[in-house]
C-alpha cells in the first residue's frame, strides 16, 4: 500500500505542478476511524494528505461531474465503470479527466464490526489485519472477514479505463458474474421476500444518503421531490419508501455498476443492494449486458434487440 500511495502522491503532485489538472480527487483520512473521506487537492502542497487503503470506500465518480475544470481522479475498478457510464451519458468529457487507476482488493464494510464492538473508537490496519477498539470491546479482524459484500464477488478490481495505472493489477477469473445472493433471495417464497423487503423498507428514513452516494444519481430533480406530478404523497412510510427505492433501481437498471456505495452510505442498514443486484442480474441474464465495462457501449435500456426475452408476458 505504501508504495502505491507514494506513487499516487507523486503523480498528483506532478499533475498539479505542471498544471495538467486543476484538482486531484482522492481520499484523505476521515474524522471517524475506518472511514476515509473524499478530498479535493488543488495544489501540489496538498498531496500529502492523500491516502490509499481499504477504507477508501466512496465512489469518487460521484464527484467527478460536480467538480469543474480538469481533474485527476483516483479510480478503483468500480469507480472507473461509473466514469464509463457517466461518459456514455454525456456527464463528463473524457479530455477533462485524468484517470489514475489503482487496482482495488476491496473496501471495508463497517456494519459487522459495529455490530460486534459498538461504536469504533480507534482502528489500525496492518498486514491485512484490522484491530479495532470499540465502545463495547476490542477485536482483531482479518480483512477478508470485513470486506464489503460487493467486493467479495467483484469482477472488475482493475479500472476498465485509465490514463495511468499505479501498483500491480489484480488477477480475477473473468467468468460469468456470480449472483448467489440474488438467487438465494429468489429461491425464497414470495411472502418471505415480501416480509424481507417490508422489514428493509420500514428501516428507511428517506435521508437520501444512498442517492447522494450514487455516482449515477445525478438528476437535477429526483422523481421523489417532484411536485408536478407528485409521484409520492410525501409521507415517510414503508410503502412510499419502497416506491422510492423501486423507482430508483428501475432508473439505475442497466446502469448500476454495483459499487455498493449506496448500501455503505445508508445509516439505517437498509439492504438497498438487494434491489440493484436483482436488476443487474436480470440485465446480465436477459441482455448479456454489464454496465460501464468500457468507454464505448450504451446503458442497457438505451438499446434493444428484436429478440429480447419476453417471459414477462401475461400467461395465457
Amino acid at each position: 500500500m505504501n508504495n502505491i500511495i507514494n506513487e499516487i502522491r507523486e503523480k498528483a503532485r506532478q499533475l498539479l505542478a505542471e498544471g495538467k489538472v486543476d484538482v486531484v480527487i482522492g481520499y484523505e483520512k476521515g474524522s471517524l476511524p475506518l472511514k476515509a473521506t473524499p478530498c479535493f487537492v488543488h495544489s501540489p502542497e496538498g498531496v500529502d494528505s492523500l491516502i490509499w487503503d481499504e477504507t477508501c470506500e466512496n465512489n469518487l465518480a460521484a464527484y467527478a461531474a460536480k467538480t469543474p475544470g480538469k481533474k485527476a481522479i483516483i479510480t478503483k475498478g468500480c469507480d472507473s465503470r461509473a466514469l464509463a457510464v457517466l461518459l456514455q451519458e454525456n456527464q463528463l468529457v473524457r479530455d477533462d479527466l485524468f484517470i489514475i487507476g489503482v487496482s482495488c482488493s476491496g473496501v471495508i464494510d463497517q456494519r459487522n464490526i459495529l455490530a460486534e464492538v459498538g461504536e469504533i473508537l480507534e482502528a489500525k490496519i496492518s498486514d491485512g489485519k484490522i484491530s479495532v477498539k470499540g465502545m463495547e470491546g476490542d477485536k482483531e479482524y482479518l480483512f477478508a472477514e470485513v470486506k464489503d459484500a460487493t467486493c467479495q464477488t467483484c469482477r472488475y478490481p482493475n479500472p476498465v479505463m485509465e490514463d495511468l495505472h499505479i501498483g500491480e493489477t489484480i488477477e480475477v477469473a473473468q467468468d460469468a458474474p456470480a449472483f448467489a445472493d440474488v438467487v438465494a433471495l429468489e429461491e425464497k417464497s414470495a411472502s418471505d421476500r415480501q416480509d424481507y423487503f417490508k422489514e428493509q423498507m420500514s428501516k428507511c428514513i428517506r435521508c437520501y444518503a444512498c442517492r447522494n452516494a450514487c455516482p449515477l444519481c445525478y438528476c437535477q430533480e429526483c422523481f421523489v421531490d417532484c411536485n408536478s406530478p407528485r409521484w409520492l404523497t410525501g409521507g415517510v412510510n414503508r410503502a412510499e419508501n419502497l416506491f422510492f427505492q423501486a423507482g430508483r433501481v428501475l432508473h439505475l437498471a442497466g446502469r448500476c455498476v454495483d459499487c455498493g456505495a449506496c448500501t455503505r452510505a445508508c445509516p439505517q442498514g437498509v439492504d438497498i443492494r438487494a434491489l440493484n443486484r436483482k436488476m443487474t442480474k436480470d440485465v446480465y441474464v436477459m441482455y448479456n449486458h454489464e454496465a460501464g465495462i468500457g468507454e464505448e457501449g450504451k446503458p442497457a435500456l438505451n438499446e434493444y434487440t428484436t429478440n429480447d426475452p419476453e417471459q414477462f408476458l401475461v400467461k395465457e
Binding site: 415480501q194 409521507g235 412510510n237 423507482g247 442497466g254 436480470d282 428484436t306 419476453e310
Partner: protein, 157 residues
C-alpha cells in the same frame, strides 16, 4: 353457482377488482375495439388509459397505480415488429421485463401487474387477456400490496 366465481358472503360485498389498463392506440386499443364490434363479452374490471404507444409507459406509472391501490395493472402494446412508431414496443420491452421481475422480487404478487401484446386483429384475444387477468387478480383479492400507500405503510410492523 358458477365454477370459479368468488364466494359471495352476506357481509362482504362481492369483490370486483379495478384494473388500470394502459393500451397503445394503434394495436391493443384497436383490439379492444374489435372485441366490442364482435360483442365478445369480458368482465367490466378494466379502466382504460389510452396511450400513443406502449413505449410511452413510464415504469413509475405501474408503481403509482399500485401505490394508489389499483388491484391490478394491464399494459398492452403492439406485437414486436408491429409498432406504429417502429420500435416503441422494443424499447418498452426491456423496461417491462425489469419492472415485472423487480416487483415480483420484492414480493408483489406475480399476477398484479400484467403485460401483453394484442394486435388490432385480436379482439377475442383481448377479451381473453382481460378475462385471465381479472380471474387471477380476483383470486388475489384486493390490493394490500406492499406499495399501497393508504394501508398505513409501516403501521403493520
Amino acid at each position: 353457482m358458477i365454477m370459479g366465481e368468488i364466494q359471495v358472503d352476506a357481509e362482504n360485498k362481492k369483490y370486483e377488482p379495478k384494473i388500470a389498463a394502459f393500451l397503445c392506440n394503434w394495436c391493443s386499443y384497436a383490439g379492444a375495439d374489435l372485441a366490442g364490434v364482435g360483442r365478445v363479452q369480458y368482465p367490466a374490471t378494466i379502466r382504460t388509459i389510452r396511450v400513443p404507444c406502449s413505449g410511452r409507459i413510464n415504469p413509475l406509472y405501474v408503481l403509482k397505480a399500485m401505490a394508489n391501490g389499483a388491484d391490478g395493472v394491464l399494459v398492452s402494446g403492439c406485437h414486436p415488429g408491429d409498432c406504429h412508431y417502429i420500435s416503441g414496443n422494443y424499447v418498452a420491452r426491456r423496461k417491462f421485463a425489469l419492472i415485472k421481475s423487480l416487483l415480483s422480487h420484492v414480493g408483489l404478487e406475480e399476477d398484479r401487474v400484467n403485460f401483453s401484446w394484442v394486435s388490432a386483429a385480436e379482439g377475442i384475444r383481448f377479451a381473453e387477456v382481460v378475462k385471465g387477468v381479472t380471474e387471477r387478480v380476483s383470486a388475489l383479492g384486493p390490493n394490500n400490496g406492499i406499495f399501497k400507500v393508504d394501508d398505513g405503510g409501516a403501521a403493520d410492523e
